[in-house]
């Protein structure tokens, strides 16, 4: 019954799609895909890709992967406040329903892939059935986001805008490389990345989630091999004591409070010197979860925490600029303070 309905929907969709002029593009994994000439609506299956499309043009988004919170809406264009929640394919919870996507009617579906996997194949088959061209984006590290933006610019016919974004990012990375070079003459700053409510979840130094730490010329104290993309490695308080990091970046406000209060944590250099920083995360996280192009501003913030002397940047001004360029919002002083306070 639902299958029949699905086929009906597919047929009607196909009929709708038929007369549209199509062109062939090569996606980021080298596949050839037929896409409509003019793309009006896009659905991306995971938050980092959705965020990138929002940055390129909020008007193109056909839906979110997870519900927006009110505090997030204040920092996003009104165009996207009431978009439907379509879910996605990223780990757990909120798996997208193909019929909901059909209802939203995007012209293309964009999927973020890390490697060839059975899931990609299945998605491809599902989307083909539903009559959507599926475009893969492959972004491994920070260096690839520029490429990603330019790819989207071409695909969505927003090349000039995408170029601006890619350019900002590339300049940020160049700047980081320069700062890291000048920092390399002194002792490497050691960093601990604290996740979870008690701050004892972290990521290995090989993880793509802590790439920013390495790019800024600092060292992640947790030396291990990542098990998977998901991360969240549990460590014990003793290991953190042993590593005695110079700086701690904290994901959760609760963990921050705990770290500041707790007797054991207070023995750590970073806590003694007051170098524990809560990561800004509104509307999207600056550091990780999801790891996205927000790290363009994230890496500047990280460097301003690591090297207040080497990198004297006016973070408030930079935040305003980034939010204007990438998110299309004008911030007042109170908002800037709120964002930077995590």
């Amino acid at each position: 019954m639902t299958k029949a309905m699905l086929w009906m929907a597919c047929l009607s969709l196909l009929l709708m799609v038929m007369p549209v002029e199509a062109r062939q593009i090569v996606d980021m994994t080298g596949r050839k895909v037929e896409v409509p000439d003019r793309i009006r609506k896009v659905y991306a299956t995971s938050p980092p890709a959705t965020q990138m499309i929002y940055a390129v043009d909020p008007g193109l988004l056909s839906g979110w992967n997870a519900p927006l919170k009110d505090r997030e809406k204040r920092y996003l264009s009104p165009l996207v406040h009431d978009l439907p929640v379509l879910g996605g394919y990223f780990g757990q919870g909120r798996v997208a329903n193909i019929e909901t996507i059909i209802k939203a009617g995007p012209d293309v579906v964009i999927m973020w892939v890390r490697r060839d996997s059975a899931l990609n194949r299945r998605m491809e088959a599902d989307m083909k059935k539903a009559g959507f061209p599926l475009v893969f984006m492959a972004i491994d590290g920070m260096a690839d986001y520029g490429k990603g933006f330019r790819f989207l610019g071409k695909l969505l016919d927003r090349e000039e805008r995408a170029e601006k974004l890619a350019d900002y990012g590339e300049r940020a990375l160049k700047e980081a490389a320069a700062v890291a070079r000048s920092a390399s003459t002194r002792k490497t700053v050691s960093v601990y990345y604290a996740q979870g409510l008690d701050g004892l979840f972290t990521e290995c130094h090989t993880s793509r989630r802590t790439e920013v730490i390495g790019l800024a010329g600092a060292g992640n104290v947790c030396l291990c091999r990542t098990r998977n993309d998901y991360g969240m490695e549990r460590v014990s308080m003793e290991e953190v004591l042993l590593a005695d990091p110079d700086v701690i970046f904290v994901q959760e406000r609760q963990a921050y409070d705990r770290i500041r209060r707790d007797r054991a944590w207070r023995r750590i250099g970073a806590v003694r010197d007051g170098r524990v920083f809560v990561i800004p995360k509104t509307p999207f996280n600056w550091f990780d979860r999801p790891a996205s192009h927000m790290r363009y501003i994230g890496i500047k913030w990280v460097m301003s925490c690591l090297y207040p002397d080497l990198y004297p940047i006016d973070m408030a001004r930079e935040t305003r600029l980034f939010y204007r360029l990438f998110l299309g919002v004008e911030l007042d002083d109170a908002q800037v303070r709120e964002i930077l306070a995590g």
Partner: protein
């Protein structure tokens, strides 16, 4: 072995295990420093120069001790709840989760994490829902006039299923990037969350409940003969059973508050203990408490020491527990009720 002998031996084992566990950890402390530190502590003398007393203090007393105590409390609570349930329901395959307490507490924890920013509120919610789920189970049984064992078990099945599905609803609603991972990891169970405040706070009701269960262990012997027999001996079966269920649920809920979901311990430890000391609950209950504590302490040490990053203890309790269980079953000549 007679009762005092067994219990004494296990107590000594547990004490030794606890002390040894205190000296184990990722942060290297030489045996000499450890001895010096404790000598200084016990005798009140000045510590020799070069010994970082403050560091060792927080290492032993604020990092390791709460965790060791947590392992002992959680292991013993789960085992005693399992042993009491197995006797009451006359069924060796029953675990503390029978009346839905662990499912309820898990749901409470997840809901708390979804709604509140403050950890105490999460803990209260965990505890409260552990209890609510048992009330639901008992309530369902009561609806059909009875505290009869079968109805209670059915009530427990329904209540457990209800809260398990409610937990899925919470997971579905949780933010996939910050809340959901936190919930998932918490439910995998682990003693690394045990903070001193919670442990000391929970220790009081846990120890009192265990004492009460020990003091009532004679009644358990009568209950395990069946309701008819017990009534003919003039025992208020329903009342005793409700009190027991209350105590077992209390300690089980508190284990989730301290360490999330830890499976298998409540099922296999009473079982193994029964094979070692026989079915008399007056010996079985205190021995279960001690063996459960020793077992979880051992497993938690493995979790803390073996790998670069910690594995959730719930995974290890089942992986270690199952082969051990099979081995003991093969060796044991003492069956159920012989």
């Amino acid at each position: 072995m007679r009762r005092p002998a067994v219990v004494t031996l296990l107590t000594i084992l547990l004490a030794v295990g606890a002390v040894v566990s205190l000296t184990l950890g990722k942060y290297p402390v030489t045996l000499r420093d450890t001895l010096l530190f404790f000598t200084a502590k016990v005798t009140g003398c000045r510590a020799p120069a070069g010994l970082d007393m403050a560091l060792l203090e927080s290492l032993f007393f604020s990092i390791r001790l709460p965790r060791v105590v947590a392992a002992i409390l959680v292991g013993s609570s789960l085992s005693v709840a399992g042993a009491a349930f197995q006797a009451m329901f006359i069924n060796p395959l029953v675990s503390p989760s029978l009346l839905g307490v662990l499912a309820g507490a898990s749901f409470g924890a997840a809901l708390g994490m979804l709604l509140f920013e403050n950890w105490l509120a999460v803990q209260v919610s965990t505890f409260a829902f552990g209890f609510i789920s048992v009330l639901v189970a008992v309530g369902i049984a009561r609806m059909f006039r009875g505290g009869a064992v079968l109805l209670l078990i059915l009530g427990g099945v329904i209540s457990g299923a209800l809260f398990t599905s409610l937990l899925s609803v919470v997971k579905y609603c949780a933010d996939p990037y910050d809340k959901l991972p936190a919930i998932v990891y918490w439910l995998m169970g682990g003693l690394s969350y045990a903070d001193a405040g919670t442990v000391w706070f929970a220790a009081v009701p846990m120890v009192i409940s265990m004492m009460l269960i020990i003091s009532m262990s004679g009644y358990l012997n009568v209950l395990s003969m069946g309701d008819e027999e017990a009534r003919s001996l003039g025992i208020p079966v329903e009342r005793i059973r409700l009190v027991m269920i209350f105590l077992a649920s209390l300690v089980s809920s508190l284990t989730v508050v301290i360490a999330g979901m830890i499976g298998w311990v409540g099922l296999i430890i009473p079982h193994i203990t029964r094979m070692l000391v026989g079915p008399d609950n007056r010996v079985l209950i205190p021995s279960s408490i001690l063996i459960g504590a020793i077992y979880l302490l051992l497993v938690d040490n493995l979790c803390r020491l073996l790998f670069e990053t910690e594995i959730p203890i719930g995974i290890v309790t089942s992986l270690v527990g199952i082969p051990f269980f099979v081995f003991v079953m093969r060796r044991a000549r003492r069956g159920w009720g012989s």
